[in-house]
Amino acid sequence: MQNTKYRTFPRGGIHPPEWKLSAGEPIKEISAPARVIIPLTQHLGAPAVPVVERGTAVVTGQLLAQGQGFVSANIHTPVSGKVIKIDAAIDASGYKRTAIIIDVDGDEWDSTIDRSPSLNKNIRDSREEIIRKVQDAGIVGMGGATFPTHVKLRVPKGKKADMLIINGVECEPFLTADHRLMLEKGNELMIGVRLIMKALEVKNAVIGIEENKDDAIEYLSGLAEKQPGISVQTLKVKYPQGGEKQLIKAVTGREVPGGGLPVDVGVVVHNVGTTFAVYEAVQKNKPLIERIVTVTGRSLSTPSNFLVRIGTPVSKLIDAAGGLPEDTGKVVLGGPMMGKAINNLDIPVTKGTSGVLFLPADESHREKADPCIRCSKCISVCPMGLEPYLLMPLAEYKLWDKAEKEKVMDCIECGSCSYTCPAHRPLLDYIRLGKMQVGQLIRKRKQTV
């Protein structure tokens, strides 16, 4: 069933150019590289603890590191071969962090993984088993936030979810990984949705897709017709509609209270990539060891969507997409609005890497900042109803108390304010600083109480 009324979130938002260059490119599998780098922090929360050591021989799918604590995630080897070291390596954060480095030898898979392409429609597992399998498989939110999925599958005591929203918005310019997944793995997605619905004990699921992906809307709507409780909601194109709170508002009209969680309004949101990973984990016993990555840029010869083993260095994807464009000035992991610029092409793809974007040198630098002319455009575009023009000087002059009162912690870092500012002011940079400092103050306050 397809809901015909197009919706969007009411407040703020921008319309950056879409540049979905690779939307027509089918997903292509890339073979494993000669060496993979597997960071132990690929998720929000505590780093995983290695269960292998230097010299351990591993087969694809074998556990490498165990999640520790409530918010953490397991990590498996995406290749077969030998652990050559456990050492610090630079990841997308720009910092050196511990990673397991494996030299690839052959491609032998753990025998419990079902690698056949057949669709397994039979949902046999109980709610608890589904959650356990998701936890074992090390699944995290694949839209970029990388929050451990099993935590989100357990509704906290005293709260109740009545709706699951599947995030197929992909509102970032350039990225098409989710779009291709919806087109090519629709049947698997439907089963994934059912699995999550079962785990959450909800009767309704809505797949939210923006209208620029009309082929995916049509295809999934057709599939959803045979699935009681699942429907597709077409959304008007607007950034940042993929933001959890914006998506919930767009689909249901419900507003997550400030500082609250989606489940406070009875909703849980999962990305389509995550949903597919849940299907593979539960029905195929396959841990999260590969993902779809959009490799794109306007100077790139063949923008593509690749199925990539986690740990593959970015440089290998560049070769597969036709080589590094001559004019490259910046390489971004993720989309252009929220992605992270990297300084090193050996950085590996991790669970949260939705894309690799190449920007030409002449678009890689910011313009000089001019004085604020108080045009209030930053307020108009802020989807959270904040005042970036005010938060920036509050952070600049270290007025943390005032910044907290002005709700700096509500910022979702979508970047709409910086994008829009005619004076090219680094609004979000300072707001991030404010969030960091205010966050520390709040934690300190909690400790002393």
């Binding site: 490259t328 910046k330 610029a341 313009e367 001019d370 004085p371 991030r432």
Partner: protein, 332 residues
């Protein structure tokens, strides 16, 4: 792979195409229809005054930045051009160029640069210059030429419709009788009346307003609120006592109300930041305008109304906030 130096910066990695100077250019373009009408009605004078005003505004900003503040000049942002153009549009076309230069000096020097330049001035610089001239040189600022190309009865020569009204009311005449001596609403709409260069033709100003809206340079909130408030307030007065009050349409079409609502009150720097704040600000300007026109000593009150409300903008910004996401119903 050859080593390549990559730029690293925080997101977002894209930027919209808007720049300060593009916005300023947009305001200048939006003023052109009103200016062309003034050239049609007032001839060469309407070319000379803006040229002098813009030239001296830009020059003063340059000189003050370079020699007084010792900073790098930022005249290329175009804000001095806008100030100069707006100042010219508020003046009669037959004003002496020396007064224009003096007005530009006050507008830029006192109104803008003394507070630290673009973005820091509490009052609209063009209006600061205009009000300075208006108070210091009342005769020169209210001796309007008759528009060319049209025949108007002698009664209106040199006086604006609002001036005529005030004068007549002072002499105890009925407003209904005085209105026979002023141009018709249609004439006023196209600018066939005495007045400052940019303010006469409501039609041309509205054209500029539409351009500003389409280009998303301003939002409707401030101008529409001001005009609605004036229309309603003047309408109530008129309905209560038609003998002593002009009709609300007359108030909309005369004086600097249109120009002020669309181009002065909407000045980014000196108007509120939130949409809700803009509405309160607009209501304030509308009320003060009608009160001055009806009960004050001056025939026209828009310039004072805007400057008075400019002073309230920091307080409006402090207390009137946009609605935060998730503010409603805690704990759902």
């Amino acid at each position: 792979m050859d080593k390549k130096l990559l730029t690293v910066s925080l997101s977002p990695h894209l930027h919209g195409k808007e720049t300060t100077s593009k916005l300023m250019t947009g305001v200048v373009v939006a003023l052109i229809p009103a200016w062309l009408v003034s050239v049609y009605f007032f001839g060469w004078d309407a070319v000379i005054v803006p040229v002098v005003s813009i030239g001296s505004s830009v020059l003063f900003e340059f000189l003050i930045q370079k020699y007084l503040l010792g900073k790098k000049s930022s005249i290329q942002d175009g804000s001095a051009i806008v100030t100069g153009f707006l100042l010219a549009m508020t003046l009669p076309s037959n004003i002496s160029p020396w007064l224009v230069i003096l007005g530009a000096l006050v507008a830029i020097g006192v109104g803008k640069m003394s507070f630290g330049g673009l973005g820091n001035n509490p009052f609209n610089p063009a209006l600061v210059g205009r009000v300075f001239l208006f108070i210091s040189f009342p005769v020169q600022l209210t001796r309007y030429p008759n528009p060319n190309h049209i025949i108007i009865s002698d009664a209106v020569s040199g006086a604006t419709p609002l001036g005529l009204l005030k004068e007549g009311m002072r002499n105890g005449e009925a407003v209904s009788g005085l209105l026979d001596q002023v141009p018709s609403h249609m004439q006023m709409f196209i600018g066939a009346m005495s007045g400052s260069m940019g303010e006469i033709a409501a039609a041309a100003i509205l054209l500029g307003f539409i351009y500003l809206l389409v280009k998303k340079i301003i939002t409707w909130h401030i101008p529409v609120t001001i005009l609605t408030t004036v229309f309603l307030f003047a309408g109530i007065l008129w309905l209560a006592n038609p003998r002593n009050n002009a009709d609300p349409l007359f108030h909309l079409l005369t004086g600097g109300l249109m120009l002020g609502s669309v181009f002065m009150a909407t000045d980014y720097v000196t108007s509120p930041m939130s949409k809700k704040g803009m509405i309160y600000y607009g209501i304030g300007i509308g009320l003060i305008t009608v009160i001055i026109r009806r009960y004050g000593a001056y025939p026209e009150g828009v310039q004072f109304a805007i400057l008075i409300m400019n002073a309230f903008v920091p307080i409006i910004n402090m207390y009137i906030k946009p609605k935060r996401f998730g503010e409603v119903k805690k704990n759902g």
